[in-house]
Symmetry: C2
């Protein structure tokens, strides 16, 4: 990456992380000291562009369309965030769609970059940040998963993410682009309405009581999981755009740091912030289906490489609640 004005492309810019990423880029106007020259925002629905100190365009593009990728890369963006994917549940229920979007769509982006790299005589070699997931791991797990633990996904979504990680490392090794794959923790507290994702309750039991509304807890208090705030997720993406690929080395898939907490610890952190009345809004309704799905999820990681590379996350769940209050509740009332 040179320090001439950057052309930024965000694929998946309408999603929760994508829109928060764009908000931060618009506020800072630069990445790693390089001013942003322009940003192009794409998603299956045209993303809403925030006010920014640089020109911004928004488009509706389906990366599952085999013809989409070359059009996205033809302008030779310097910094590409590949965030778009079909979510886990949909990739499981719609086999063809999941592979078409999550695997073939991502690979088409990689191949379009390679094509542009070759056409440029090797001078075009952008930074590519890809959001992978801890779904690349499949139970049974050690108590704490180290950076060298194998990827044996138990969902098609996790399989597709693991494959794009492998391709990203190979294409980076070949010099077509400088890729970094970030395995994001479960994001908590997700803003917005309660959703039916199996992981939704981790956010619901905090966000809803803080807003004075009831929330359903479908699993036991002893369930442990790996969480990071939306603010941290955006921080991972920006940091990944800033560190040198030589520092990362050939193993380009990094498990991001997170906070390992039990549901019971989440609830106690809520009590400390918002009192017993908030906690009383959580209604326990055990759901065996959700409990079984969640039992297959990883609970704790060392994330040693990512921490050594300077990726930062909250130190405890209280800080995750604070981030939510600052970024969502206070931001909206101010």
């Amino acid at each position: 990456m040179t320090h001439s004005p950057l052309k930024v492309l965000i694929i998946g810019a309408a999603g929760m992380i994508g829109s928060k990423l764009m908000q931060r880029l618009a506020e800072e106007g630069a990445v790693n000291g390089a001013p942003i020259g322009r940003a192009r925002l794409v998603d299956v629905v045209s993303p809403v562009a925030p006010a920014a100190p640089f020109p911004t365009t928004s488009e509706a593009v389906d990366i599952g369309d085999p013809l989409a990728a070359s059009g996205l890369i033809a302008g030779q963006p310097d910094l590409i965030f590949l965030l778009a994917s079909i979510v886990s549940g949909e990739a499981e229920s719609e086999f063809d769609k999941g592979y078409r979007v999550n695997l073939d769509g991502g690979r088409a982006i990689y191949d379009a970059i390679r094509g542009e790299h070759l056409r440029s005589g090797g001078t075009y070699r952008p930074r590519l940040i890809f959001t992978s997931s801890i779904a690349v791991f499949g139970a049974p797990f050690p108590e704490i998963i180290g950076d060298e633990f194998f990827t044996t996904p138990l969902t098609s979504y996790g399989t597709q993410k693991a494959i794009l990680e492998l391709l990203l490392s190979d294409y980076s090794r070949r010099g077509f682009f400088e890729g970094v794959a970030l395995r994001l923790p479960t994001i908590c507290v997700r803003p917005g309405k309660p959703n039916l994702a199996a992981s939704g309750f981790f956010s619901n039991i905090i966000r809803e009581p803080l807003a004075g509304k009831p929330a359903v807890l479908p699993v036991a208090d002893s369930v442990r999981h790996w969480l990071a705030s939306p603010r941290s997720a955006v921080g991972f993406l920006v940091h990944a755009a800033s560190i040198s690929p030589q520092t990362i080395g050939p193993r380009r898939a990094l498990t991001m740091p997170g906070v390992s907490v039990t549901v019971g610890e989440q609830i106690e952190a809520l009590r400390a912030v918002a009192g017993d009345s908030a906690v009383r809004l959580i209604r326990r309704e055990p759901n065996e289906t959700i409990a079984r799905i969640v039992a297959g999820w990883a609970t704790n990681f060392t994330a040693a490489r990512a921490l050594a590379l300077g990726f930062k996350v909250e130190r405890n769940f209280a800080e995750i609640i604070e981030a939510h209050i600052t970024d969502e509740l206070l931001a909206k009332t101010s």
Copy 2:
């Protein structure tokens, strides 16, 4: 698999392992107690079929051709060996061809099976044995690689193999077929002429002196590697067709057992069998390129899961030499 006569398909039947596999199936006439009804042998060149107690057909088919897969699977073979691939060096020098044959070609076979599975209303669900490679691993390594070590290939070939492993596990989990991926050690002693593969010397320094011919050793005697005989490789394939997938579980990629030896230990085993005169035929010609490539290869594995599942290999390098003498030298003179 039922015990009605099996329809066997070998993709890559003209290769060294493929032809030895077919030879063994022809001798035994059955797999796991089920008689073989017929065998279909395919490769980029039409394979030579040995005499067999069941009908056998041979065809030239390029699995890199996107139209090839459905024709191979339309006859609903019960047992499929997917051995075909572009070798490591060629996949590295010819990027597009490597991905087209090794990734897209293999995936097309998987998808053709899925198509046939769906058309059959779910009754067609063959056994698929895929030969992967220890090239899915990339240095740096622990001294002994365990079964849960991560796959970070340093070649496009290794990347393609790792991706087909992931797809095989997901397609098996979905019930489209019963897949098993076998990570083969480097095969030694390879019969035939010396070749220019970087790994060729592991075989050359044994095979050539045993035939009274000189051989070149391009690396230091201290180089350690992971070897198994051609006979063991065929044994792995047949055993993989026999064990129950339920026993294997969802993690379908298995590192096969091997013998971890140094080049010096190989040479001492040769001396014990064929004396100083044979050893004197080995000429040391250090080659930095080969030494550097080989330094990135894994040297030792626990292979604990495969051993627990009953996969068998030689106990030491002397037995690997014995297998070569019995299967190649004595077989030819008798």
